[in-house]
């Protein structure tokens, strides 16, 4: 199945925005892990910006960058949001409140606890009424989302915005799910190319587990990749940044592999 990448957004320590990320991943500048960045997510209206959780702003921030880069109207784009853990900050506050004798929880906190909170906020910010799917697949959340986005782009014949995002949960949940650092990446994907397409992706799902899963050469980037489900997108981002033909192998649970042949587009 063939897909085109028309826009990318990224946010992570030392990987703020596609321009910086591309330079790092292409080897033009060294990777320096910085403090966790703050998302801007300026597309959110002030009220929504204030109400939203940090992780929602991470997701919206990269979505906005990818959409702007792809030069498309977000109202025309369906979305797939992938997060392994979702709103753990909100869940921590809810469970803390529910462990008190009064069990008083704020209504706002409750409706912010849904796994599709980021998708909902993106819809509110853009007014988009296109389909939106929020999914989880443990460490393979990005891979599952890429398949969903590819199938959607081809079968429903529409642009798809894929957003993968995960933040380390707050204590005490962190111990149960110790994600390393925060990371979010967004891709605008299409079934057909445009002038400014960045890369062509040929996807193949395989049961053959004999090949190696693509990892990152740099130790810091590899720690990020293996420690955050959204950062499992880094090898694909690196292949696009490298601007030459490359094959990326992603792990889809323990049982399958997603092979992605990446071919750069003229731009």
């Amino acid at each position: 199945m063939r897909l085109y990448v028309n826009g990318i957004g990224t946010l992570g320590p030392g990987l703020i925005g596609w321009r910086e990320t591309r330079a790092v991943l292409a080897g033009a500048s060294p990777y320096r892990e910085t403090a966790r960045p703050e998302p801007t997510a300026s597309i959110l209206p002030p009220n929504e910006h204030r109400r939203s959780s940090t992780i929602v702003r991470w997701a919206v921030h990269v979505a906005q960058e990818a959409i702007e880069q792809a030069q498309v109207n977000p109202r025309e784009v369906a979305t797939v949001f992938a997060s392994s853990c979702g709103e753990t900050g909100v869940l921590d506050r809810l469970c803390t409140a529910l462990a008190t004798p009064q069990r008083v929880i704020s209504p706002t906190l409750f409706h912010h606890s849904v796994h599709n909170a980021a998708a909902g906020y993106w819809g509110i910010a853009t007014g988009s009424q296109q389909s939106s799917t929020a999914l989880a697949c443990n460490d393979s959340s990005f891979c599952a989302a890429l398949l969903e986005a590819a199938a959607y782009a081809h079968i429903e014949e529409r642009l798809v915005l894929l957003v993968a995002y995960d933040l380390p949960p707050p204590l005490p949940l962190y111990v149960a799910r110790p994600l390393r650092e925060g990371f979010a990446a967004a891709f605008v994907l299409a079934g057909t190319p445009v002038d400014h397409s960045l890369a062509q992706l040929d996807l193949n799902l395989s049961d053959d587990l004999s090949g190696d899963v693509t990892n990152m050469e740099d130790a810091g980037l590899e720690a990020l990749r293996s420690g955050n489900p959204a950062a499992r997108s880094l090898p694909l981002l690196a292949a696009v940044a490298g601007h030459q033909a490359a094959c990326v192998c992603l792990e889809y649970l323990e049982d399958q592999r997603l092979l992605i042949q990446v071919t750069p587009c003229q731009s």
């Binding site: 109202r75 392994s84 853990c85 979702g86 869940l91 809810l94 469970c95 803390t96 529910l98 462990a99 069990r103 008083v104 929880i105 704020s106 209504p107 409750f110 409706h111 606890s113 849904v114 796994h115 599709n116 909170a117 998708a119 909902g120 906020y121 819809g123 509110i124 853009t126 007014g127 988009s128 009424q129 296109q130 389909s131 939106s132 799917t133 929020a134 999914l135 989880a136 697949c137 443990n138 959340s141 599952a144 398949l147 969903e148 590819a150 199938a151 959607y152 081809h154 079968i155 429903e156 014949e157 005490p172 949940l173 111990v175 149960a176 799910r177 799902l205 049961d207 049982d255 399958q256």
Partner: protein
Amino acid sequence: MKLKKPAKKPLVLSAYTVVTALGKGLEPTYAALRSRRSGLRPCDFEDVGIKTYIGRADGLEDLPVGSGSITKGLEQFDCRNNRLALLGLQQDGFTQAAIEARERYGTHRVAVILGTSTSGILVTEHAYRERDPQTGALPASFISRYRYTHNMFSLAHFVRAYLSLQGPAMVISTACSSSAKAFATASRFIEAGFCDAAIVGGVDSLCLTTLYGFGALELMSSGPCRPCDEDRDGLTLGEAAGFALLEKAERAAHAGAVALLGYGESCDGYHMSHPHPEGAGAIRAMQGALLRSGLNPRDIDYINLHGTATRANDSIEDKAVHSVFGSSIPCSSTKGWTGHTLGAAGITEAVIAAICLTRGFIPGTLNTTRVDSSLRSSVLLKNQEQPVRRVLSNIFGFGGNNCSLILGTV
């Protein structure tokens, strides 16, 4: 809206089942619908002190996952949500049908695409009561099993492990629309060739988060919910597990088989917990399902409403339904039987639609005595015996996430 080609061939639900407050499997569900027996009862869940009703599935307390020989080795998955999943898998020969599909297509060719909104959150709610007073740490027994219980993928992980499947998998969590959207994604996965068949459906189980959360939002009725009633005052929460095996028609169709004819997905792009005032997203979802199925509004025999019995949902859904279908098609909500099963509502009501198709009847809205006079759709209050060939089912969720399914017989 862009016109789309209808699906080449509809996918068949070659096996399906549901467990709700009405009982285990298709027979008790049908019997309760026919006899108009509600599954709702005064809230007796744990020590919840809210004056409300619930649709609770019986017997989960005595059915730990891993206790019997068939779930040996799966102990780590034990939680209320997966117990309910297991109970669902064991009804109506579903497990056997799934195993046959696995043998027919291969372990890698059967996908597991399921919906849930809160997964096994109840274990985390309990664990937070047992934090170490000094360090605040959660109990070690919780930490080691978090991945298999509360983690959002847990449900699909468990079902995959139980059925020994190795194909594509994911959990869709778009609040109440979760398990309806599982049908759409699975349909695409089969059409894209990522798999040959898919286990779809979903599970949501009672927990403190949703009971106290909907309480805080003041969206919960103190009695059994009364969808579309003049005096409706909110929803009743329920729990459910439901599954369907989706396969290509050429492999599984027989006369009278139930098929997924179409789906439509949309967002409101309006508010996190309040529907779009004109029902714009709902309209888009229904029109999308019609387009995909290649059907006209008049081809639909019955509309199973989302019908949660909140003031806003029922009146806005009515506006949307009326604008697409006019007022001639019989509509009803079955939430008065099962309660709102949240992420499992899509599969619960898809299975109810399948019962309507195969048994030839339409359930009239339960608990409702006087239909809100401002509603313009044709809201049924009494059961109606009639052939039913095509049903549209609406599911709308928080975050303004909507999905409509059309099921029919082939």
